[in-house]
Protein backbone atom coordinates (compact mmCIF):
# COMPACT_ATOMS: atom_id res chain seq x y z
CA UNK A 1 0.00 0.00 0.00
CA UNK A 2 1.27 3.45 -0.86
CA UNK A 3 -1.17 5.29 1.37
CA UNK A 4 -3.36 3.95 4.15
CA UNK A 5 -5.74 6.07 6.17
CA UNK A 6 -7.22 4.65 9.38
CA UNK A 7 -10.28 6.13 11.03
CA UNK A 8 -9.16 9.68 10.33
CA UNK A 9 -10.93 12.73 11.73
CA UNK A 10 -10.11 16.14 10.33
CA UNK A 11 -10.99 19.66 11.44
CA UNK A 12 -11.22 22.97 9.62
CA UNK A 13 -10.54 26.02 11.76
CA UNK A 14 -10.88 23.82 14.85
CA UNK A 15 -14.33 22.51 13.87
CA UNK A 16 -14.44 18.78 13.04
CA UNK A 17 -15.75 18.25 9.50
CA UNK A 18 -15.10 14.58 8.74
CA UNK A 19 -14.58 11.55 10.92
CA UNK A 20 -14.18 7.83 10.47
CA UNK A 21 -12.39 8.21 7.15
CA UNK A 22 -10.63 4.98 6.17
CA UNK A 23 -9.25 3.95 2.80
CA UNK A 24 -6.15 2.47 1.24
CA UNK A 25 -4.42 3.21 -2.02
CA UNK A 26 -2.13 0.66 -3.67
CA UNK A 27 0.10 1.10 -6.73
CA UNK A 28 -1.91 1.82 -9.85
CA UNK A 29 -5.03 2.80 -7.92
CA UNK A 30 -6.96 6.04 -8.00
CA UNK A 31 -9.64 7.21 -5.62
CA UNK A 32 -12.13 9.93 -6.53
CA UNK A 33 -13.37 11.97 -3.56
CA UNK A 34 -16.96 13.11 -3.90
CA UNK A 35 -19.10 15.27 -1.68
CA UNK A 36 -20.94 18.60 -1.70
CA UNK A 37 -19.15 21.92 -1.25
CA UNK A 38 -17.88 22.39 2.27
CA UNK A 39 -18.04 18.69 3.06
CA UNK A 40 -14.35 18.64 3.95
CA UNK A 41 -12.64 17.27 0.84
CA UNK A 42 -10.03 20.04 0.81
CA UNK A 43 -9.42 19.64 4.55
CA UNK A 44 -8.99 15.89 4.10
CA UNK A 45 -6.50 16.41 1.27
CA UNK A 46 -4.53 19.01 3.26
CA UNK A 47 -4.38 16.66 6.21
CA UNK A 48 -3.24 13.74 4.06
CA UNK A 49 -0.61 16.00 2.51
CA UNK A 50 0.70 16.77 6.00
CA UNK A 51 -0.18 20.46 6.00
CA UNK A 52 -2.31 20.15 9.10
CA UNK A 53 -2.42 17.62 11.93
CA UNK A 54 -5.31 15.15 12.01
CA UNK A 55 -7.78 15.38 14.87
CA UNK A 56 -7.70 11.62 15.32
CA UNK A 57 -6.67 8.53 13.40
CA UNK A 58 -3.57 7.59 11.43
CA UNK A 59 -2.13 8.32 8.03
CA UNK A 60 0.43 5.77 6.87
CA UNK A 61 2.62 6.65 3.94
CA UNK A 62 6.31 6.60 3.16
CA UNK A 63 8.01 9.89 4.05
CA UNK A 64 7.96 12.31 1.13
CA UNK A 65 5.54 10.13 -0.82
CA UNK A 66 2.75 12.62 -1.36
CA UNK A 67 2.58 15.41 -3.92
CA UNK A 68 -0.12 17.95 -3.22
CA UNK A 69 -1.83 20.29 -5.67
CA UNK A 70 -4.53 22.75 -4.72
CA UNK A 71 -6.48 25.66 -6.13
CA UNK A 72 -3.46 27.92 -5.96
CA UNK A 73 -0.75 26.82 -8.34
CA UNK A 74 2.16 28.58 -6.67
CA UNK A 75 3.29 30.18 -9.92
CA UNK A 76 5.49 33.24 -10.11
CA UNK A 77 4.20 35.68 -12.71
CA UNK A 78 7.61 37.10 -13.62
CA UNK A 79 9.28 33.73 -14.15
CA UNK A 80 8.80 31.88 -17.43
CA UNK A 81 6.94 28.59 -17.68
CA UNK A 82 10.21 26.67 -17.91
CA UNK A 83 11.73 28.56 -14.99
CA UNK A 84 8.72 27.90 -12.80
CA UNK A 85 8.85 24.21 -13.56
CA UNK A 86 12.63 23.97 -13.25
CA UNK A 87 12.40 25.52 -9.80
CA UNK A 88 10.04 22.82 -8.56
CA UNK A 89 12.07 20.10 -10.26
CA UNK A 90 15.18 21.27 -8.41
CA UNK A 91 13.34 21.59 -5.09
CA UNK A 92 12.15 18.00 -5.43
CA UNK A 93 15.53 16.86 -6.70
CA UNK A 94 14.40 15.62 -10.09
CA UNK A 95 16.07 16.70 -13.29
CA UNK A 96 14.24 16.83 -16.57
CA UNK A 97 11.23 19.06 -17.14
CA UNK A 98 10.77 18.13 -20.82
CA UNK A 99 8.36 15.20 -20.22
CA UNK A 100 6.22 17.35 -17.95
CA UNK A 101 6.06 20.14 -20.53
CA UNK A 102 5.15 17.62 -23.21
CA UNK A 103 2.48 15.90 -21.14
CA UNK A 104 0.55 19.14 -20.69
CA UNK A 105 1.29 20.58 -24.13
CA UNK A 106 3.28 23.48 -22.70
CA UNK A 107 6.36 23.27 -24.97
CA UNK A 108 5.35 26.24 -27.13
CA UNK A 109 4.76 28.34 -24.03
CA UNK A 110 8.02 27.39 -22.28
CA UNK A 111 9.60 30.83 -22.64
CA UNK A 112 6.48 32.83 -21.87
CA UNK A 113 6.26 34.50 -18.42
CA UNK A 114 3.69 32.67 -16.32
CA UNK A 115 1.88 35.95 -15.73
CA UNK A 116 0.99 36.10 -19.42
CA UNK A 117 -0.76 32.72 -19.43
CA UNK A 118 -4.52 32.21 -19.48
CA UNK A 119 -6.21 30.65 -16.45
CA UNK A 120 -6.36 27.24 -18.12
CA UNK A 121 -2.72 27.39 -19.17
CA UNK A 122 -1.68 28.30 -15.63
CA UNK A 123 -3.62 25.33 -14.34
CA UNK A 124 -1.84 23.05 -16.81
CA UNK A 125 1.48 24.39 -15.60
CA UNK A 126 0.39 23.81 -12.01
CA UNK A 127 -0.47 20.21 -12.84
CA UNK A 128 2.77 19.70 -14.78
CA UNK A 129 4.50 20.38 -11.46
CA UNK A 130 3.17 17.03 -10.23
CA UNK A 131 5.22 15.21 -12.82
CA UNK A 132 8.48 16.83 -11.71
CA UNK A 133 7.92 16.00 -8.04
CA UNK A 134 8.63 12.35 -8.77
CA UNK A 135 6.36 11.35 -5.90
CA UNK A 136 4.16 8.25 -6.08
CA UNK A 137 0.95 9.55 -4.45
CA UNK A 138 -0.85 12.55 -5.88
CA UNK A 139 -3.33 14.39 -3.65
CA UNK A 140 -5.27 16.68 -5.98
CA UNK A 141 -7.88 19.25 -5.07
CA UNK A 142 -10.25 20.06 -7.96
CA UNK A 143 -7.49 19.70 -10.56
CA UNK A 144 -9.71 20.38 -13.57
CA UNK A 145 -10.92 23.87 -12.60
CA UNK A 146 -10.68 26.22 -15.63
CA UNK A 147 -9.46 23.45 -17.94
CA UNK A 148 -11.13 22.98 -21.36
CA UNK A 149 -12.17 19.57 -22.67
CA UNK A 150 -8.88 18.94 -24.47
CA UNK A 151 -6.86 19.83 -21.37
CA UNK A 152 -8.99 17.60 -19.17
CA UNK A 153 -8.09 14.86 -21.64
CA UNK A 154 -4.40 15.67 -21.23
CA UNK A 155 -4.75 15.58 -17.47
CA UNK A 156 -6.63 12.25 -17.48
CA UNK A 157 -3.93 10.84 -19.74
CA UNK A 158 -1.21 12.05 -17.34
CA UNK A 159 -3.00 10.43 -14.38
CA UNK A 160 -3.42 7.19 -16.33
CA UNK A 161 0.28 7.13 -17.18
CA UNK A 162 1.15 7.86 -13.53
CA UNK A 163 -1.02 4.96 -12.38
CA UNK A 164 0.50 2.76 -15.07
CA UNK A 165 3.95 3.46 -13.61
CA UNK A 166 2.81 2.23 -10.22
CA UNK A 167 1.68 5.54 -8.79
CA UNK A 168 -1.55 6.34 -7.00
CA UNK A 169 -3.89 9.31 -6.97
CA UNK A 170 -6.40 10.77 -4.57
CA UNK A 171 -8.55 13.27 -6.48
CA UNK A 172 -11.34 15.53 -5.32
CA UNK A 173 -13.39 16.36 -8.41
CA UNK A 174 -16.94 16.75 -9.65
CA UNK A 175 -16.42 15.79 -13.28
CA UNK A 176 -15.95 12.39 -14.82
CA UNK A 177 -12.34 11.95 -15.82
CA UNK A 178 -12.94 8.64 -17.56
CA UNK A 179 -10.56 6.90 -15.20
CA UNK A 180 -10.90 3.38 -13.88
CA UNK A 181 -11.24 4.52 -10.31
CA UNK A 182 -13.19 3.84 -7.17
CA UNK A 183 -15.40 6.63 -5.90
CA UNK A 184 -15.22 7.55 -2.24
CA UNK A 185 -18.16 9.62 -1.12
CA UNK A 186 -17.42 11.61 2.05
CA UNK A 187 -21.00 12.85 2.51
CA UNK A 188 -21.96 10.19 5.06
CA UNK A 189 -18.73 10.73 7.02
CA UNK A 190 -19.70 14.21 8.12
CA UNK A 191 -18.56 14.65 11.69
CA UNK A 192 -21.44 14.59 14.12
CA UNK A 193 -22.24 18.06 15.40
CA UNK A 194 -20.14 18.83 18.42
CA UNK A 195 -17.94 21.56 19.71
CA UNK A 196 -14.59 22.13 18.12
CA UNK A 197 -11.68 20.40 19.77
CA UNK A 198 -10.48 23.61 21.40
CA UNK A 199 -13.89 24.67 22.61
CA UNK A 200 -14.79 21.36 24.22
CA UNK A 201 -12.93 22.28 27.40
CA UNK A 202 -15.17 25.30 27.84
CA UNK A 203 -18.51 23.51 27.81
Amino acid sequence: MLLTVHDLAVARGGVPVLEGVSFALGPGEALILRGPNGSGKTTLLRTVAGLQPPLAGRIEAAPDAIAYAAHADGLKATLTVAENLTFWARIFGTGDIAPALAAFDLEDLADRPAGALSAGQKRRLGLARLLVTGRPVWALDEPTVSLDVASVGLFAEAVRRHLGQGGAALIATHIDLGLEARVFDVTHLKARPRASAEDEAFL
Partner: protein
Amino acid sequence: MIALLSRDLALAVRAGGGFGLGLAFFLIVTVLVPFGVGPDTELLSRIAPGILWVGALLACLLSLDRIFALDWEDGSLDLLATAPLPLEALVSLKALAHWITTGLPLVLAAPVLGVLMSLPPEGYLWIVASLAVGTPALSVIGTFGAALTVGIKRGGLLLSLLVLPLYVPTLIFGAEVARRGAEGLATATPLALLGGVTCGTIALLPFASAAVLRINLR
Protein backbone atom coordinates in the same frame (compact mmCIF):
# COMPACT_ATOMS: atom_id res chain seq x y z
CA MET B 1 18.29 24.63 -1.54
CA ILE B 2 20.23 26.61 -4.10
CA ALA B 3 17.11 26.49 -6.28
CA LEU B 4 15.04 28.38 -3.73
CA LEU B 5 17.74 30.97 -3.20
CA SER B 6 18.28 31.57 -6.89
CA ARG B 7 14.54 31.77 -7.50
CA ASP B 8 14.10 34.38 -4.79
CA LEU B 9 17.01 36.37 -6.13
CA ALA B 10 15.64 36.13 -9.70
CA LEU B 11 12.21 37.22 -8.51
CA ALA B 12 13.70 40.16 -6.66
CA VAL B 13 15.51 41.59 -9.69
CA ARG B 14 12.64 41.07 -12.15
CA ALA B 15 9.91 43.66 -12.67
CA GLY B 16 7.98 44.41 -9.50
CA GLY B 17 10.43 42.46 -7.40
CA GLY B 18 11.20 45.40 -5.18
CA PHE B 19 14.97 45.13 -5.51
CA GLY B 20 16.51 48.55 -4.94
CA LEU B 21 13.48 49.94 -3.14
CA GLY B 22 15.19 49.53 0.20
CA LEU B 23 18.31 51.14 -1.20
CA ALA B 24 16.35 54.11 -2.53
CA PHE B 25 14.62 54.44 0.83
CA PHE B 26 18.00 54.44 2.59
CA LEU B 27 19.17 57.22 0.26
CA ILE B 28 16.06 59.31 0.87
CA VAL B 29 16.23 58.98 4.66
CA THR B 30 19.87 60.04 4.62
CA VAL B 31 19.11 62.99 2.37
CA LEU B 32 16.18 64.10 4.52
CA VAL B 33 18.14 64.17 7.78
CA PRO B 34 20.29 67.22 6.90
CA PHE B 35 17.11 69.03 5.83
CA GLY B 36 15.74 68.32 9.27
CA VAL B 37 18.73 69.10 11.47
CA GLY B 38 20.41 71.77 9.36
CA PRO B 39 23.56 71.77 7.22
CA ASP B 40 26.03 72.12 10.10
CA THR B 41 28.87 69.81 9.03
CA GLU B 42 30.14 69.26 12.53
CA LEU B 43 26.74 68.17 13.84
CA LEU B 44 26.13 65.94 10.81
CA SER B 45 29.49 64.27 11.14
CA ARG B 46 28.78 63.57 14.79
CA ILE B 47 25.39 61.94 14.19
CA ALA B 48 26.34 60.30 10.87
CA PRO B 49 26.98 56.75 12.20
CA GLY B 50 23.71 56.66 14.09
CA ILE B 51 21.68 58.09 11.22
CA LEU B 52 23.20 55.62 8.76
CA TRP B 53 22.36 52.74 11.09
CA VAL B 54 18.79 53.86 11.70
CA GLY B 55 18.34 54.47 7.97
CA ALA B 56 19.65 51.00 7.12
CA LEU B 57 17.41 49.44 9.76
CA LEU B 58 14.30 51.18 8.42
CA ALA B 59 15.20 50.27 4.85
CA CYS B 60 15.53 46.66 5.98
CA LEU B 61 12.13 46.83 7.67
CA LEU B 62 10.48 48.07 4.50
CA SER B 63 10.85 44.83 2.56
CA LEU B 64 10.17 42.34 5.36
CA ASP B 65 6.52 41.69 4.58
CA ARG B 66 7.46 40.46 1.10
CA ILE B 67 9.49 37.58 2.52
CA PHE B 68 6.54 35.22 2.95
CA ALA B 69 3.43 37.19 1.90
CA LEU B 70 3.86 36.65 -1.84
CA ASP B 71 4.51 32.92 -1.49
CA TRP B 72 1.55 32.71 0.88
CA GLU B 73 -0.82 34.41 -1.56
CA ASP B 74 -0.01 32.31 -4.61
CA GLY B 75 0.07 29.01 -2.72
CA SER B 76 3.81 28.41 -3.07
CA LEU B 77 4.23 28.31 0.68
CA ASP B 78 1.84 25.35 1.01
CA LEU B 79 3.64 23.56 -1.78
CA LEU B 80 7.06 24.34 -0.30
CA ALA B 81 5.89 23.02 3.05
CA THR B 82 5.13 19.67 1.40
CA ALA B 83 8.48 19.67 -0.42
CA PRO B 84 11.45 17.71 0.93
CA LEU B 85 12.94 20.93 2.31
CA PRO B 86 12.68 21.34 6.10
CA LEU B 87 10.93 24.54 7.09
CA GLU B 88 13.97 25.53 9.15
CA ALA B 89 16.05 25.47 5.96
CA LEU B 90 13.30 27.33 4.12
CA VAL B 91 13.23 30.21 6.59
CA SER B 92 17.04 30.39 6.72
CA LEU B 93 17.21 30.58 2.93
CA LYS B 94 14.48 33.21 2.86
CA ALA B 95 16.46 35.26 5.37
CA LEU B 96 19.63 34.83 3.31
CA ALA B 97 17.82 35.91 0.14
CA HIS B 98 16.47 38.94 1.99
CA TRP B 99 19.95 39.82 3.19
CA ILE B 100 21.47 39.52 -0.28
CA THR B 101 18.76 41.66 -1.87
CA THR B 102 18.41 44.21 0.93
CA GLY B 103 21.16 44.03 3.54
CA LEU B 104 24.16 43.66 1.27
CA PRO B 105 23.27 46.62 -0.98
CA LEU B 106 22.84 48.74 2.16
CA VAL B 107 26.32 47.75 3.37
CA LEU B 108 27.81 48.73 0.03
CA ALA B 109 25.84 51.98 -0.22
CA ALA B 110 26.61 53.16 3.31
CA PRO B 111 30.07 54.69 2.55
CA VAL B 112 28.60 56.67 -0.35
CA LEU B 113 25.87 58.04 1.86
CA GLY B 114 28.51 58.64 4.53
CA VAL B 115 29.93 61.31 2.24
CA LEU B 116 26.58 63.11 2.28
CA MET B 117 26.57 62.95 6.07
CA SER B 118 30.20 64.21 6.35
CA LEU B 119 31.25 61.00 8.10
CA PRO B 120 34.79 61.38 9.49
CA PRO B 121 37.41 59.51 7.42
CA GLU B 122 38.06 56.98 10.21
CA GLY B 123 34.37 56.07 10.18
CA TYR B 124 34.07 54.54 6.69
CA LEU B 125 35.70 51.25 7.50
CA TRP B 126 33.65 50.84 10.66
CA ILE B 127 30.27 51.75 9.23
CA VAL B 128 30.80 49.10 6.54
CA ALA B 129 32.11 46.56 9.04
CA SER B 130 29.30 47.12 11.55
CA LEU B 131 26.60 46.94 8.88
CA ALA B 132 28.18 43.85 7.34
CA VAL B 133 28.16 42.10 10.71
CA GLY B 134 24.81 43.47 11.89
CA THR B 135 22.47 43.38 8.87
CA PRO B 136 22.29 39.55 8.74
CA ALA B 137 20.75 39.68 12.23
CA LEU B 138 18.23 42.25 10.96
CA SER B 139 17.22 39.89 8.14
CA VAL B 140 16.93 36.84 10.40
CA ILE B 141 14.90 38.69 13.05
CA GLY B 142 12.76 40.21 10.31
CA THR B 143 12.10 36.76 8.86
CA PHE B 144 10.82 35.69 12.25
CA GLY B 145 8.46 38.67 12.29
CA ALA B 146 7.33 37.93 8.74
CA ALA B 147 6.64 34.29 9.62
CA LEU B 148 4.67 35.43 12.65
CA THR B 149 2.39 37.73 10.64
CA VAL B 150 2.12 35.77 7.40
CA GLY B 151 -1.54 34.85 7.80
CA ILE B 152 -2.66 38.34 8.77
CA LYS B 153 -4.19 40.60 6.17
CA ARG B 154 -2.48 43.99 6.03
CA GLY B 155 -0.02 42.75 8.63
CA GLY B 156 2.70 45.17 7.55
CA LEU B 157 2.20 47.65 10.36
CA LEU B 158 1.92 44.90 12.96
CA LEU B 159 5.10 43.39 11.57
CA SER B 160 6.96 46.66 12.19
CA LEU B 161 5.55 46.90 15.70
CA LEU B 162 6.70 43.36 16.50
CA VAL B 163 10.11 43.57 14.89
CA LEU B 164 11.31 47.02 15.98
CA PRO B 165 11.75 46.15 19.69
CA LEU B 166 13.61 43.01 18.65
CA TYR B 167 15.98 45.20 16.63
CA VAL B 168 17.09 47.22 19.67
CA PRO B 169 20.19 45.20 20.69
CA THR B 170 21.46 44.95 17.13
CA LEU B 171 20.98 48.67 16.59
CA ILE B 172 22.67 49.61 19.86
CA PHE B 173 25.75 47.47 19.30
CA GLY B 174 25.97 48.21 15.58
CA ALA B 175 25.66 51.97 15.94
CA GLU B 176 28.13 51.85 18.84
CA VAL B 177 30.74 50.17 16.65
CA ALA B 178 30.23 52.77 13.94
CA ARG B 179 30.26 55.68 16.40
CA ARG B 180 33.35 54.55 18.26
CA GLY B 181 35.05 53.85 14.96
CA ALA B 182 34.26 57.34 13.70
CA GLU B 183 35.63 58.88 16.90
CA GLY B 184 38.77 56.79 16.66
CA LEU B 185 38.03 54.76 19.81
CA ALA B 186 38.45 51.03 20.31
CA THR B 187 35.64 49.05 18.67
CA ALA B 188 36.51 45.50 19.67
CA THR B 189 33.96 45.10 22.49
CA PRO B 190 30.81 46.29 20.71
CA LEU B 191 31.90 44.52 17.54
CA ALA B 192 32.24 41.25 19.44
CA LEU B 193 28.83 41.78 21.05
CA LEU B 194 27.29 42.62 17.68
CA GLY B 195 28.82 39.49 16.21
CA GLY B 196 27.46 37.51 19.15
CA VAL B 197 23.95 38.82 18.56
CA THR B 198 24.18 37.98 14.86
CA CYS B 199 25.54 34.47 15.42
CA GLY B 200 22.98 33.77 18.14
CA THR B 201 20.03 34.88 16.03
CA ILE B 202 21.26 32.97 12.96
CA ALA B 203 21.73 29.83 15.04
CA LEU B 204 18.49 29.87 17.04
CA LEU B 205 15.84 32.07 15.51
CA PRO B 206 15.16 29.91 12.38
CA PHE B 207 13.72 27.25 14.70
CA ALA B 208 11.26 29.77 16.14
CA SER B 209 10.46 31.07 12.64
CA ALA B 210 9.80 27.55 11.35
CA ALA B 211 7.61 26.81 14.37
CA VAL B 212 5.41 29.86 13.84
CA LEU B 213 5.25 29.20 10.10
CA ARG B 214 4.03 25.67 10.82
CA ILE B 215 1.34 27.10 13.13
CA ASN B 216 0.29 29.61 10.48
CA LEU B 217 0.05 26.99 7.73
CA ARG B 218 -2.18 24.77 9.84
